[in-house]
Each structure stands twice: as C-alpha cells, then as structure tokens.
Amino acid sequence: MTGTTTRVEATPPTAEAIEAAWQRVQLARHPQRPRTLDLVPHMFTEFTELHGDRAFGDDAAVVGGPALLEGRPVMVIGHQKGSDTESNILRNFGSPHPEGFRKAQRLMRLAEKLGLPVITFLDTAGAFPGPAAEERGQAEAIASSIKLMTGLQVPIVVIVLGEGGSGGALAIGVGDAVLALENAVYSVISPEGCASILWRSREEARTAAAAMRMTAADQLDLGVVDAVVAEPGEGAHTDHAATARTLRAAILSALRRLTSLEAEELLASRYARLRGIGAYLDTGAGATHPVEPPSLGRRIGRMLRLPGVPRRPRWSEIWPSDGGEDENERGA
C-alpha cells in the first residue's frame, strides 16, 4: 500500500481563502444549526435515549439510544450541543467528558451484540480539557472508543454535522461511510488552538482555519470523508426538516451497501479505508545503519579487541541527542 503523493506548494492562505474558510466555520458553529436531537425525530421513529456509562455518570454532551430507521432498529449516537445558554451549560457546550465516550462505547457494544447498525453524529468543538476529565482518563476514553469502532462487527455510518473537533469527534467518528454536511468542518485542533500555537496569537484563527483545510469539501479531497451532503437554502440552520430528509436518504443508501457485506468484508474494508489515509512518500532509502552480520574474523577480532578491527558504532553515535534539554514544541 502506498500513500498519497500529491505535493502542494505551500503558500500563506489568501484573503479569499481565509474568508471562505471562516464563513464555513461560522456556519458550522451557527447557534441554530440542527443538533443531533433536532434531527433524530425527523429521521427515526421511537428513538429511546439510554443514559450512563455504568462506571461514573451520564454525560449530557453525548446522547444515544436505539431507534427505528424505516422500521428497522439502529443505534444512534451523537454529540449534543445546546441551543441557548441554559441548554449549553447542561450539555457542556457539546464537549464530552470521558463518561460520554464510555457511554458511547457501551451503546456500540450493545449494537454489536444485537447486530444493529450504528449511526453517529459528530458535532463538538472537542473533548473537554478540564482537570476532572484528565483524572478520569480522557485520552484513554477516546483511544478505547476509536479502537472499539475499528473492530465493531456491525456497519457504522458517521455524519459530520457541525464541528468535527479533533479526538473528541474521532472518538465516535470511525466508520465504514463517513459523510459530512456541506457546511460542516473537521479539524485536528480548533482554529483558535492552532493559531495560538503556530501563529502565537488566537487572532489568527481565521488564517489557521484556511491553512488546515477544514471544510467538508477539503475533507472529501483529503479522503477523510467519503461524501458531502448538500444543505438546504442558506444552510442547515434554515431548515432542519429538509436537512434531515437529505441526510436520511444518504444514510439509507450507505446502509443498503454496507448491510450486504459479511462482517469479515466489512471489517477488512473499514481497515483498508483507514490504512489508506495519509500523505507520505516511500523513497525506498535503506536503513540509516544497515545491520549486516559481521564476518567471523571481524567478530573474533572485536571479541579480542584486536587493533584495526573497527568496533560496531553505537546507535547513540548515529542518532545522538544534542546534550541538553529541548525547547517544547506542541502538537495537537
């Protein structure tokens, strides 16, 4: 398997690109944008929300439960933002704690046990970064959720609804078909976070948004999403019901394809999909320090420390550290 090899000339984003990218971010964050629980009644019947991670608590930033799609049961899981101050406080602005991801895992296991397809909705600025979340293992909760999804033996359809914010989004975002609404965005870190690290100023968030290529169209181009779903009129916030109708059709079409696969084929294609994402070049260059078995004479020479027999260089001489401590560089 080889990765993508398209190289793009690096230039600072143009003013137009910045404007276009930021407009999408604003739409993705629009206060009236449909949230998971706004769309569910338009797409499914008999949705029954289940609560709690069976370990610590119930996280209102993640919702989920079984529902009927065209009369057949599925498991619905999604991030849930609020629509006003009160509901946003209840929902923690859609930023889950570990128990949110563990609830999602519990629901996915139930879906697998009963053979229900899983449908997830991504809409979060990111996993909550507070100390309590750290204490309860935010990273572990995300990691184990991702791992569970890579091996879950039922079809998974993922929809990026609004903000696909980093690991907190991906934690419920591994699937067989990943769809994005037209004005949704997906990124490795929030544009504000990226700007404060790489530009050393949160004011550059717009520039960072353009540089990260976070729009739905960009994600399609990068192979991160498989299809972009058009939004009605000026955007999904103008018509929740119409948005739900198009999404529902897209989900059904994906499910028709996926449910015809055996579990084995399904997992193999999900694996291949993930393995294929990334951009790298295999230069074919050999090992930095090829290890070849030394001749017997040389081995004996080394053992006896005979003069003229070069000793094997230590790896620390090939890749040394430069002595001191290094300045901190940040990733996401």
């Binding site: 993508t4 690096a10 091996g151 690991g167 990068l222 393995r275 094997r312 040394p320 996401a332």
Partner: protein, 346 residues
C-alpha cells in the same frame, strides 16, 4: 539549555555540560551519557534520542530498522509562519532523522520484538502520516510474525501541519491494535516525557501494559488549557506519570536504569498466545503447553476451579482463536510475512 564550547560546530557530548532543569546542578554531558541521561543529583530524566533508546533497551547489534525511507509530504500546502517543508528540513538537520519515529525489529534479552521509538526533537515528536504509517506497519509486523510490539513515545500529539490527515493517524495506529487483541499478541506502551494530545488519545493509552518514566508529562490537553478551562489551580503533580499511576491509567512508573530489565520481564510473563493449532508443534516448550495458559491452569487445578469459584473453563475458548475470531485474524495483511523469513523465535 546546553552550553557548548564555541569552537566546534557540534561540541560533542563529552566536553560540554548541561544544567539540570529540576535541581539546577551542572551535569557534564559525559556523565549524563553514562547515567542514561538521568541527573546523578536529583534523578531527573532528560529526554533521549532514538539512538540512545536503542542502546539502552535493545540487545547490542539486534536492531534492524524497517521502512527507513518513508518521508512526509506537504499534502495541504501548509504555511504558518513558514512552510511545513522548512520545518521538516530543520528537524531533519537537527536530528539526522527523516521523521519523528523509527521502527524496526530487535531483541530484548533474546526475545524478538517489533519496536517503535519517538524522538521529541523532530517537530515535537508530532504524529503525521509518516509516523502513523510506520506505527501501523510496526503493529502489522508484530501481528504477522507473532512477536510482541513495543512503542516508546515522546510526542506533543498530532502534527497540525497535516490537518485531519494527522488526526486520522489516531485511528490508523489503533486499528491494528484491535487485531493484535484477537490474535493474542501483546503490546507494551512505554510513555516518556512528554506524551500528550493525540498520541496519548490513541495507541499510547492502549498498551496491554503501560510503563511510564518518572515525572514524565503525560496528559490529553495542555496543563495551561486545563487550568484556564476551569479557572482554578491544578492539583499537585497534575499530568505526571505518578498522577496517572494514582488514577489507574498506567501500570507502573519505572526509573530508566530499570526499564530494560522490566521490559524483558514483562515479555517473559506475557508471551504471545498460541496460534490456533497450526503451529502447536512449535509451542511444545511453552510453560502451559499447547492448549494455552487458561486451560493449562485448569488442568493443574483439576475440578477445583469450577467448584470453588464457579468458573466453567471451556477448552475450545481457552485454546485461543476460536472459530469466531479466526476469520478476522485471517483478514490481516498476511502478505507482509515473507516466506523467506524464519518464523519468529519464541
């Protein structure tokens, strides 16, 4: 900051000294080298290069690097204060590496392993497509050759310059781990300073055993972010290895001088499970025989297990890789196992 003699471009570790950030002592680099880069005064663990890690952990001469030629590509055309390519080049010059991770097969105390090691000095050890691809190949080789996998992490997280391509490496590196689970191949994560962000939120948190170095910074979000978010003081030792041990997210905090023997012991204690039948002959020497650890356990104890604890031991399940799991294991990229290559020593 390192202080070097001004006359040579690279003063070399022997004739320079470094100030310990923990105790302010001046430590000669030659001394640091002898002590595995642990401060002799206070025990502070300095960061290590990949070369130093190899020398510290692996049997001399046993490391064979794999996939050395993989190189990053600027797929996004990413330009912040300078182009991504320039940052890559600067890191390559600084470290002599092509990217932030090197992997290969090696031996620890004679036991064959697939091991991947990060270098934090290469763009903060950040995980982009190359790091993700190498890790996936490392895990896939562990699966194909049925040898344990080890990753020594030192990373700030996902590489922002690759956008969501780097975010997807969280899933790319995690997917093979689910296959290792089904195949009965152990994975040991060694977390060193620092292991944060997307690296901690993927494979690094998923070790069957997780070992951390003392006082290493280990956390999901930056400590400043965490403190700003709630506007309160952080608890003492927040996001240190010891903090994670206390909260149940790492198994042990091991000082560097004991790391090698600890890994060797874990490898002996947690052997690769028996393959489903085909290679049973090769497993004759295993401590609990070819039926696997659990059924061997049951044999020894006789009926005592089921009677007193109420556990029913089903030999078919205990024999590893029952029919339910065999299919998914077979879907693994067995093509990476070369017919010329000798079967992994067990």
């Amino acid at each position: 900051m390192p202080i070097k003699f001004p006359f040579s471009r690279r003063a070399g570790p022997s004739d320079a000294w470094t100030k310990c950030p923990a105790c302010d002592a001046q430590v000669f680099n030659r001394q640091l080298e002898r002590s595995a880069r642990v401060c002799p005064g206070c025990g502070h663990h300095f960061r290590m290069s990949i070369g130093e890690r190899i020398d510290l952990l692996l049997d001399p001469g046993s490391f064979e690097e794999r996939d050395a030629g993989l190189e990053a590509i600027d797929r996004l055309g990413f330009h912040d204060e300078r182009p991504y390519d320039h940052r890559l080049e600067a890191s390559r010059v600084k470290t002599g590496l092509r990217d932030a991770l090197v992997w290969g097969v090696a031996r620890i105390d004679g036991q064959r392993v697939a091991i991947a090691i990060f270098d934090f000095r290469f763009m903060g050890g950040s995980m982009g497509s190359v790091v993700g691809e190498k890790l996936a190949r490392c895990f896939e080789t562990a699966l194909a050759e049925r040898i344990p996998a080890i990753v020594v992490s030192a990373s700030g997280g996902a590489r922002m310059q690759e956008g969501t391509l780097s975010l997807m490496q969280l899933a790319k590196t995690t997917a093979p781990l689910a296959r290792l689970d089904r195949a009965g191949v152990p994975f040991i994560a060694v977390l060193t300073d620092p292991t944060t962000g997307g690296v901690l939120a993927s494979f690094a948190s998923l070790g069957d055993v997780i070992v951390a170095e003392p006082r290493a910074l280990i956390g999901f979000a930056g400590a400043r972010v965490a403190s700003d978010t709630v506007g309160e003081e952080l608890p003492d030792g927040f996001q240190t290895a010891e903090f994670l041990l206390e909260h149940g997210f790492v198994d042990m905090v091991v000082p560097r001088p004991e790391l090698r023997v600890t890994l060797a012991r874990l490898l002996r204690l947690l052997p690769v499970a028996a393959d489903d039948g085909q290679e049973a002959a090769a497993l004759g020497e295993r401590p609990w025989g070819p039926l696997g650890a659990l059924s061997g356990f049951a044999e020894r104890l006789g009926g005592a297990v089921s009677e007193t604890i109420g556990i029913e031991v089903d030999t078919e399940v205990a024999g590893n890789g029952g029919p339910a799991t065999a299919g998914t294991t077979a879907a693994a990229p067995s093509a990476t196992r070369s017919p010329d290559e000798p079967e992994a020593d067990r």
